[in-house]
Symmetry: C2
Subunit: 287 residues, 2 copies
């Protein structure tokens, strides 16, 4: 596996690769790789001639009071996983090369970022869309892989790629979970034992909401309240938001219909976790 | 000359071209081509294997009270000029293909757009940087050509390309002028005869400012006032701004030093004209 640190070297690699005409699969990450990332790398490996991964803890997507400095850095283990999963090229850019002192360009997506993570973390999506645009322009992959645990991010990046005419496909991969349902996340390691045992309730409770829908409940308000109540009763966490929304636009649904996504964000101390569940309302039961 | 209207067809052309490995020179325009555009096309032709021009009156870069609807459309003449200047491909995209109804991504540049055109026309640069990013991603040219009459725009686009890691060179071409010094502009045709005879004063007066600098004047305030006074005395136009600024950052200079750019914007009725002049302060005379 080749490791590149400079943008110039990456562009040379990219240019050289173009002549080979093989496909490139790209997995951009913040490092601290876990089983979720592994599944992205495997999916990229299965469907492409070359696999590129990047590791960059992007300061732009963290708010001033957020965990940029404490975000886990586990480079040796990350490198080992990339090697193990057959990554051809690992790109580990330097911050001052991606963001020189006179850097002043921003890429933003409006409607899809207006709520949920975008509302709770106002700097987050402009930071994500700016770095992802840069990386996609640098790599020009055929496919780029994103985890659906960050479902809103996945939709935002699909929109960005469509709007900017980037000729590539954004592939959303299923969330990988621990036995009790907790989604793998780089931030899980910061949960205390007590918090860890409660953390899976987020997903379990979203599933309870899904069950209510399958049982015929069609009022978003009722489902949201049921999730809130159950989460509050069974965990010590602080709920940031619960959303029952259209899976394509992420707009909240008063009445459940079509493809529905349940979103949740909860804080345990300084650790903020998100998760989601997609529910297909059976056709016959639509109002 | 091939003419393409659809993005898909353009991407096919681009992909096919990649294998040929010749250089592409790109001249993006709003149409209503004049001698300034001709010089861009000629420069592109001289330095590249293939020349691509685009014509698109981009609604995003016009404010609600601006001249989007009255902006001149002269497609037949534009096409003739492109043919005459050896353009290989003319891209005339459709508005609803560049901006589908769910379009929601914006590219913006902050510091360089804070003043001058950016201040007078708040929607202008986000519109320009968004469409130019889309076109540069679609074409992936080796060189893209912009006129220096729009000097701030030229700097903004250079910054954008650097910040987004677009692997291409932005070439700024000298302003082409009528005999009396008026810069060619698509909007000149809307000047009345009386306004037309006054319009050249903008450039003439900027040159007067340049002369003051060469004569040793080092106070930005004094030069600006001299330009204002002369322009007010000799034209019926309304001055939008006069700027004496650093040629790289466009920040106003209290004391003249190094590479200086004089910027001006003036309105004659509904027609708004801009121009600029770069002045190199002789080294020996620096403070």
């Amino acid at each position: 596996m080749q490791i590149i640190h400079s943008i110039r070297a990456l562009q040379d690699w990219r240019r050289h690769h173009q002549l080979k005409r093989g496909t490139i699969g790209f997995v951009p990450t913040l490092g601290a790789l876990h089983e979720g990332h592994r599944s992205l790398l495997q999916q990229a490996r299965k469907t492409n001639d070359s696999v590129v991964a990047s590791i960059f803890v992007n300061p732009l997507q963290f708010g001033p009071s957020e965990d940029f400095h404490s975000y886990p850095r586990t480079l040796a283990a990350d490198q080992a996983m990339c090697d193990q999963e057959g990554v051809d090229l690992l790109f580990i850019p330097k911050r001052n090369e991606l963001y020189p002192t006179d850097f002043q360009t921003s890429v933003s997506v409006s409607l899809l970022t207006a709520r949920w993570e975008g509302e709770s973390r106002p700097q987050h999506f402009p930071g994500v869309t700016t770095i992802v645009t840069k990386l996609l322009i640098l790599l020009q992959p055929d496919h780029a892989f994103f985890g659906q645990k960050d479902y809103q991010q996945f939709l935002v990046i699909k929109q960005l790629v469509k709007d900017l005419n980037l000729a590539m496909r954004i592939v959303g991969c299923p969330t990988i979970r621990e036995a009790d349902g907790l989604a793998f996340s780089s931030r899980n390691r910061y949960l205390t034992t007590g918090q860890r045992s409660e953390a899976a309730r987020l997903y379990q409770t979203l599933r309870h909401g899904g069950q209510l829908i399958r049982q015929g409940q069609r009022q978003g308000r009722v489902i949201k309240k049921a999730i809130f109540t159950r989460l509050t009763r069974t965990t010590s966490g602080t709920i940031d938001y619960i959303g029952i929304c259209n899976s394509r636009t992420l707009e909240p649904l008063a009445t459940i219909t079509g493809q529905v996504t349940l979103l949740g964000a909860i804080r345990f101390g300084k650790v903020r976790l998100i998760d989601n569940l997609r529910v297909r309302v059976p056709r016959g039961s639509d109002p």
